[in-house]
Amino acid sequence: MNHVNTSDWYDSLRRELESNSLSIEKVSRRSEYWRKSNLDIVSDFVQDTSQIDLSQLKGTCLFEPDLTVHGDIMKLGSEESKSVLSIMDVITDEESFAKNYFGRLEEKSQKLIPRPLARDNSLSPKVGYAISFSDSFKKPLVIHNRTKTSASNCFQRNLIVIKDDVEATIIETGNNLSVFNSVTEIYLGKNAKLNFLDLTGQNNIFPKISHKFCDLAENSTFNHFGLRLNTKATRTELELHLNGHGINTSIANVSLINKRDHFSDENVLINHNAYECKSRQVFKSVLENDCTSIVRGKIYVAPEAQKTDGYQSSRSLLLNDKSKFLCKPELEIYADDVICSHGSTSSSLDKESLFYLLSRGVRKDKAKEMLIAAFISEALDEIEDEDIKSALSHYIDNWTSSFFHE
């Protein structure tokens, strides 16, 4: 139980969620949804010291954060803003805007797929942010999670509400906190746009599961980019509800893993509930040394979602034959006038390309780096903002240059 005095609305929501949480199927190998995953993700989480150091990205001034969330402490940057609050402040406030949003998407998500860890999170959030934007943010908002050492589980709970016609970019990075179980509920109004970059750094020796549930109104845009650099055990659950016509979404992910038994596990469900919406999914995994990357992307098209355009591509580059890429694309379509495609491949480095580069004198490790960069470029191209894209690809290139020397 939370030791803070939570609001009446949260208390009653909590009681409701708690009472029906018994019906949520637990995580186990018996469940098809979890069968191939690394179940460390659900075991007792311990301290995590990992981080992506954003200072490396500071080449562009864009990355000066306007606001930093340090675990449960919140520091506002230069510009005081009422629109970003601590989640703990929100659930103790009887009149908070969050009252109409908190927990709704988590509950909705349970109807399609049992997600016991998301429910645990709703019942005892510890840290997190609640964002409500009614004006566009020109600069990206960088959220740099950092936690104090503490053995307790960290349930991070976030809420993002973007009002009609508002555009924002959020980059989340930093420590995975001690035990990382995060739930982020995202609501986009009409014509709203959110670019979300979720950057998970290397040396994440502790497990992390993050859920993002997103409700989108007509003509809104949601672009999500995930980066997983040598993550020990990350699992992502992304569920989108496209509820109005003309919605555009892009989900892209790059996983670069070369450590033994490391694991990245991306699960996406896109619900096309309205006509003329577009969704793209681009996954790229580069794997070496007994590691695993899982991609499960499902496109659901409701009967009324005519003229849906759904695209999914998941590709892996296996640098040696010990690593595994498990991919499960799924289509469930109930409308007749739709274009949906998916493709999945696993391949090794192209020998001819490598030979071409080497024959021009490019050193072997550099040539591999170039081919890796080329391989993941399709996913990076999903990032609209050129400055962020180039800062990130520089960061990744630098990182890959150490890839072969470990």
């Binding site: 390309s353 030979f355 071409y356 580069l357 080497l358 021009r360 490019v362 080329a374």
Partner: protein, 254 residues
């Protein structure tokens, strides 16, 4: 400069010999042409010299400047000054042409202990070469060879040659796929590049190229061997009568 002695090469994948005892000696400043029927092993020879995987050397030696070439890695051979203009240059999506060229040039310079070229000097250099070969800026900005026509790819190979300044150049059918004007352009590029310290091995099916790039020697290769060596008149002979006179020579040597 290059000395190949009784070289025998077979495929790694299957037990099939392609080069069947080939000897060839090339001195600095010389231009050698190799002609021969399809499948006689010309490209295989180029690949082996450049260091491509997939071949097994069963016999013989290849010396470059006196040391054993076959021991060197592909990128080391490039840094030594060996350059192969491919018969079929591949496309590499996602790798920018400029980035590739600069990395290649600077890697070679580094290996040779030279200073790396800065971005501005590099750009100037590439632009001037591209201009000579009439390669557009747009083409230079693309990923390596992506979307380029056959002839454009060949021109790109010559651009790389001019940029990297190798000492030993193999042109594997660089003329195939070039229009008349492009052929003149490329030949001019090659001729400007000739020097007393550089050597060329020009593989071609057409005597026409040899009017522009004049060879000191012409070799006829049949079934993995050089069966006849002469001067440029030999190329004219081939043009007129084909290879029928030489096929027999190939068999006799068995």
């Amino acid at each position: 400069m290059l000395k190949i002695d009784n070289l025998k090469v077979s495929l790694e994948e299957e037990d099939k010999q392609i080069i069947k005892g080939l000897s060839l000696s090339i001195n600095p400043g010389e231009v050698h042409a190799i002609m021969g029927p399809n499948g006689s092993g010309k490209s295989t020879l180029s690949s082996v010299l450049a260091g491509k995987d997939g071949y097994v050397v069963n016999n013989g030696t290849v010396k470059f400047d006196g040391s054993d070439l076959l021991d060197a890695e592909v990128e080391e051979r490039a840094a030594l000054g060996i350059f192969l203009a491919f018969q079929y240059p591949i496309e590499i999506p996602g790798v920018g042409n400029m980035n590739f060229l600069r990395t290649a040039l600077n890697s070679q310079r580094k290996t040779r202990g030279q200073e790396e070229l800065n971005a501005a000097d590099f750009l100037k250099l590439v632009r001037s070469i591209a201009k000579d070969l009439e390669i557009s800026d747009e083409m230079m900005k693309r990923p390596v060879n992506v979307g380029a026509s056959g002839g454009e790819k060949k021109r790109n190979e010559i651009l790389q040659m001019c940029l990297l300044e190798p000492r030993f150049v193999i042109l594997d059918e660089t003329d195939s796929g070039l229009d008349v004007d492009a052929m003149k352009l490329v030949s001019r590029g090659v001729n400007n590049f000739l020097s007393s310290s550089r050597s060329f091995l020009v593989i071609t099916h057409y005597q026409r190229l040899l009017n522009y790039i004049v060879p000191d020697f012409v070799h006829i290769m049949v079934d993995g061997r050089i069966v006849k060596t002469g001067d440029k008149k030999l190329a004219l002979h081939v043009e007129e009568t084909g290879y029928k006179d030489f096929l027999q020579l190939g068999k006799e040597k068995h």
